[in-house]
Symmetry: C2
Subunit: 194 residues, 2 copies
């Protein structure tokens, strides 16, 4: 039985999809209303401005993205060879690959948003910054069981690889970017092994 969604949730869901697929500034309020079948007044009863809706969409995306990645990591973790301590972090790069090859892939929504809202103090830009921090934290967790010389430094390097792969896959359509990043990641992990 389908859970009845509030109008607010419907708006955020539709907005998130359109923003991700086509961009933020190019997607008008009216387009979102058409796709969601909600009245304009209702939108502005829930959100003070388009920017607020953008923030809500990004926050929703943040939750869904983390859930997706964690699901894939759990799935690919079992398929890793070698030392089981490394299974989770290596599965992360397989998770990226799965994401890149999905038909809806259009880069990282937060990197895209940062490009369209470059002012560092802009609430939208701040949300993106926070998301990236969250991913870094997650990567830290994934390597926490491995005994490494400088775990924080390693996490940063892997996070950088992750972003590089995402951008590469998006702008140059190089869908094997995740595998390349995975290769580098193994190198890094090996180098910092105690």
């Amino acid at each position: 039985m389908a859970v009845k969604k509030s109008k607010r949730d419907e708006l955020v869901e539709v907005a998130q999809k359109l923003f991700y697929q086509h961009g933020f500034r190019i997607t008008g309020i009216d387009t979102i209303l058409e796709h969601s079948g909600v009245a304009k007044r209702t939108l502005y009863n829930h959100f003070k401005s388009k920017d607020e809706l953008v923030v809500a969409a990004l926050n929703k995306r943040d939750l869904e993205f983390m859930a997706m990645i964690k699901k894939y990591v759990a799935k690919f973790e079992k398929q890793q060879e070698g030392d089981p301590k490394y299974a989770r972090i290596l599965a992360y790069f397989d998770a990226l690959s799965e994401w890149f090859n999905s038909d809806k892939f259009n880069g990282c929504m937060f990197i895209n948003a940062s490009a369209e809202y470059p002012r560092k103090t802009d609430p939208i830009h701040v949300v993106c910054e926070n998301h990236k921090r969250l991913v870094l934290q997650y990567i830290s967790e994934l390597i926490s069981e491995i005994k490494l010389r400088e775990p924080d430094e390693v996490a940063l390097q892997l996070s950088l690889l992750s972003d590089g792969a995402i951008v590469c896959a998006h702008t140059t359509n190089m869908l094997n970017a995740a595998e390349i990043a995975k290769t580098t990641a193994m190198l890094v992990l090996n180098a910092y092994r105690t």
Copy 2:
């Protein structure tokens, strides 16, 4: 003595700066005209549409970016320690660092453009793809004197690191991203050494 610029060049120069600093869709034709002091009719005598101006701005940026990077690489090449064969590629990451810390830094203009024009067939998106390919080729050159087991694979890994650093520096304002990437790069080069 200053070289007299054509109106076309003036337009492209102003457009490039505004697009890079604020974004593409947010920057209107009228704003570009105000900043350049050129008549609207003149713009549309040189360009069929705003999109054509965007492409011209990106092509100019492509030239200037490569020139900037090459200049910095030449500068930092001399300051590298260790095997001189590695000097150029390591200088590349110092070049990135210099760029990140300049006051005009606002991420990679081509990554930003890809975000705003996501359609893979869009001429604007294609220009971005070509730029990334050019950078990859340049990285290949930088490592060409080093004897490596799989130079193409290494170039891809380093290019990925480069993009990761750029994005990281832009969205999370982590200005030492280039140093982190450099550390990883040294790891990669070491691993593929013959």
